[in-house]
Amino acid sequence: MAVNAPSRLAPTALAPTLSFGSGLLRGLALLATLICAAPALAVIGLALRPEANATTIGAALLRDGAIGTLALMLTGGGAAIAFGAVAAWLVSLCAFPGRGLFTWMLVLPMAAPSFVLAYAYSGMTWGGAAPVPVAGFWGAAFVYAIGLYPYVYLAARAAFMSQSACALEAARTLGAKAGDVFWRVGLPLARPGIAAGGALALMEIAADYGAAQHFGLTTLSTAIFRAWYAHASPHLALQISAALLIAALFFLTIERRARGRAAFAGGSTRWRSLPRYDLNPAARWAASLFCLALVALGALLPLGWLARLAVLHGNISDLARPFANSVLLAGAGALIALALASIVAAAARKGGALGQASLLAAGAGYAAPGAVIAMGALAVFGFAREAGFVGGLGAGLALTALLWTYAARFAAAGVQPIDAGLSRLSKGVDASARVLGASVWRRLLRIDLPIAAPSLVASALILFVEILKELPATLILRPFDFDTLAVQAYAYASDERLLEAAAPSLMIFVAGLAPILVLSSGIARARAGAR
């Protein structure tokens, strides 16, 4: 492997600093790949194991599930990508009433799990009728669109914020209107960011069980559970999971290749405030209305409804322990997943087979439903137990397995922000420090880490929120008497006590609120000279 070959993607990035530890990095990358891939590999391995009672039901479930998932990706996922990209463009480069407020409020829906949105919208009544009629296929597409656009918004906003003012101003000087600049300059330049955020949103849709099940849809994810629960065939479930994993790997590879061929020159590196377009009055209000609709539908309306239910039932005070458990688990899980994501991002920047493999391993974890990755982790545990390496799933081992599953499942969500941060490291600064006699570690601590720190924080915050919302792996792998907010919300919701489920659902959102606001303000400050 050509370890020192500069990456095609960013020829000026990082190579000098990290070359000191290329052996170390390679070892870590291998470890990270194994950690991320083990549950997915266990799933694929178990699926390939022959089993006597193979049925024809499997083929029908797989076909219908694939059609359902693709349809939801095209509608809900497509809308999420469009909403996220347009919203990011508006708040980054246009002036309109409420822009400052929307800049951070647009991230809010990220804290609400899809299943919570689905429950909230289905139960919502106003004067005996549903204010937003949400049901069936279009209901699910709606929930995905308004719940997942922040993934695209965050990535696209970071991309727009780091764009060269020169390219945009050159376009304006040449007489392009706001819309033209968006379509012909801004959008193409931000494409990698939008693609990365879009990929996260699409993988969320592929992995989502709660909302799709609630709306009675056949997707790959619900087909997995139908095989497992209704047909009592974990083996068939694993086979469908394996198909989902392989499809995800296929798409991830295509996406990497498509992105790898395009080169995006950074343009000027002298930062200036981005020029902001003055829209005409109608467009100004339309922009405000658009952002308001996203925030209201994605966060204010469903959470207001949950808050009303929670007040009606008044059980918020019982939630101190689950709240603490959730925050501690999400905190510990985010740190471990962050370490993995950093290694994967660094290895991917170096390129080579190992870098690609670690990216794919992380991506596979993210695209599979949490319960499937948890089943894979359980299987690995089962092997280890039969081989005599470990005993029962006591509290220690259960939490270890759970944190590992979180890391394997979510590392991919942390890679993108770190990758964006690493691209800011400049070879020139590093070379200067080297000429001045700074050691490898000194350069790492004084130059690289401070530059990459905001990205690491951003990544950790995203991971924290993801783990906070996670349900199935927590449900199956946690120790005795250890409930989290998501588990409590599930327990009540599965018992059809939505009133009681409202308070823990709301608390998931509250716990995720602070990190999301920090995250949002971090992006706003990421551009030197930003107001």
């Binding site: 005996g128 709306f215 799933l393 006591g394 509290a395």
Partner: protein, 357 residues
């Protein structure tokens, strides 16, 4: 015994030490929080697929009476089964609790439950409501019933589950997904009583009368009927009672618009199912698991549970909650509940074929 237990409970909680050694500061504090289980007290471990607050009350009363603390791991039945399977002999679970005989049968079928019998269990649980070999024992009962909108349907129009297939209800029936175990058991018992062809025709007939594709929970079906989306729904009996006393005005209004019918009173009787429990095959504290199981079917526990959860006590002698008693006595379908498990695969295949997803 006492000594062994103390050591066991310590061994199951090695986490603070383990994580501190590895230097995970945050993980360490999480573990301290996790290690809330008693290390001095006696305890019994329960894997439970029931999430009712009422069960916690029951466990607290058990601890009060016996000094044995109940540690619970609630999750859904299928996931608990996979965990038990992966844990094998090393499992920490002593008693396994699940709603629906079908789920209990699956655990038994995977050799994860031990057969146990005792005089108290045999006296406490009617024969039909436990596994003949004692792998699982019911401790509460629920009926699957028909809910109708009072201003659209007369109760005698839905005297039987068979009526839901009539043209009279074309486009007027709602039911939840057949992935749900309640619906699987409902069809499994029909297969057991009347054969697969009859069950196929019934499922296809109901499917043809659906007002919409199955979605949401039993409660959502009841709300759909109240809102005028359909006239009749299939649901478990306790959901309507619960909605009638909801803190939410809208739910109370919905409940007021609907009535319930125990179907097939002139025929085979209404489909009833249980919540039950069995001792884990590799329980480390089997005596205490049995002790808890016997407590669950005891008069004390049955009287405590009856008013809390709108379920029927497992024995007719125990008086049901007033709202339940007000519904009157009803005739139950006479099907041995282990058949619900045995027939579940067939039921799932039939639902798949007729397109009731």
């Amino acid at each position: 015994m006492q000594l062994r237990d103390v050591r066991n409970s310590w061994e199951s909680q090695p986490l603070p030490y383990l994580l501190n050694r590895r230097g995970f500061a945050l993980g360490g504090s999480a573990a301290t929080l996790a290690a809330c289980a008693p290390s001095e007290r006696l305890y019994v471990n329960v894997y439970s697929a029931r999430h009712y607050d009422a069960d916690r009350t029951l466990y607290a009363a058990f601890e009060e009476a016996t000094g044995v603390a109940v540690r619970v791991l609630p999750a859904n039945a299928e996931q608990l089964l996979e965990r038990l399977r992966a844990e094998g002999e090393a499992t920490e679970a002593d008693l396994v609790v699940a709603a629906d005989a079908g789920n209990l049968w699956r655990m038994q079928d995977a050799n994860l439950l031990a057969p146990v019998t005792s005089a108290a269990l045999s006296a406490g649980v009617p024969q039909r409501l436990h596994d003949p070999a004692g792998h699982w024992w019911g401790f509460t009962k629920r009926a699957r019933i028909i809910v109708y909108r009072k201003d659209a349907v007369a109760p005698d129009e839905i005297a039987s589950m068979d009526n839901l297939t009539q043209p009279r209800f074309s486009g007027q029936v709602v039911a939840r997904s057949s992935t749900n175990t309640y619906n699987l058991s409902l069809l499994a018992s029909r297969i057991e009583r009347l054969g697969a062809d009859n069950a196929w025709d019934w499922a296809a007939g109901v499917r043809a009368n659906f007002a919409r594709d199955p979605q949401g929970s039993d409660t959502d079906q009841i709300k759909a009927v109240a809102a005028g989306l359909a006239q009749v729904a299939i649901a478990n009996h306790y959901y309507v009672l619960r909605m009638a006393r909801s803190d939410d005005n809208a739910e109370r209004e919905s409940a007021a618009k609907v009535g319930i019918v125990f179907p097939d009173q002139a025929g085979a009787g209404a489909h009833t199912n249980i919540s039950g429990a069995g001792v884990a095959a590799h329980a480390k504290r089997p005596e205490r698991a049995l002790q808890l199981l016997e407590y669950l079917v005891s008069d004390d526990a049955q009287r405590l549970l009856a008013p809390l959860n709108d379920e029927f006590p497992i024995r007719p002698e125990i008086e049901a909650a007033p709202e339940l008693a007000a519904l009157g006595a009803f005739r139950e379908e006479d099907v041995a509940l282990d058949a619900l498990g045995r027939r579940q695969g067939e039921a799932a295949a039939i639902y798949e074929e007729v397109g009731w997803r």
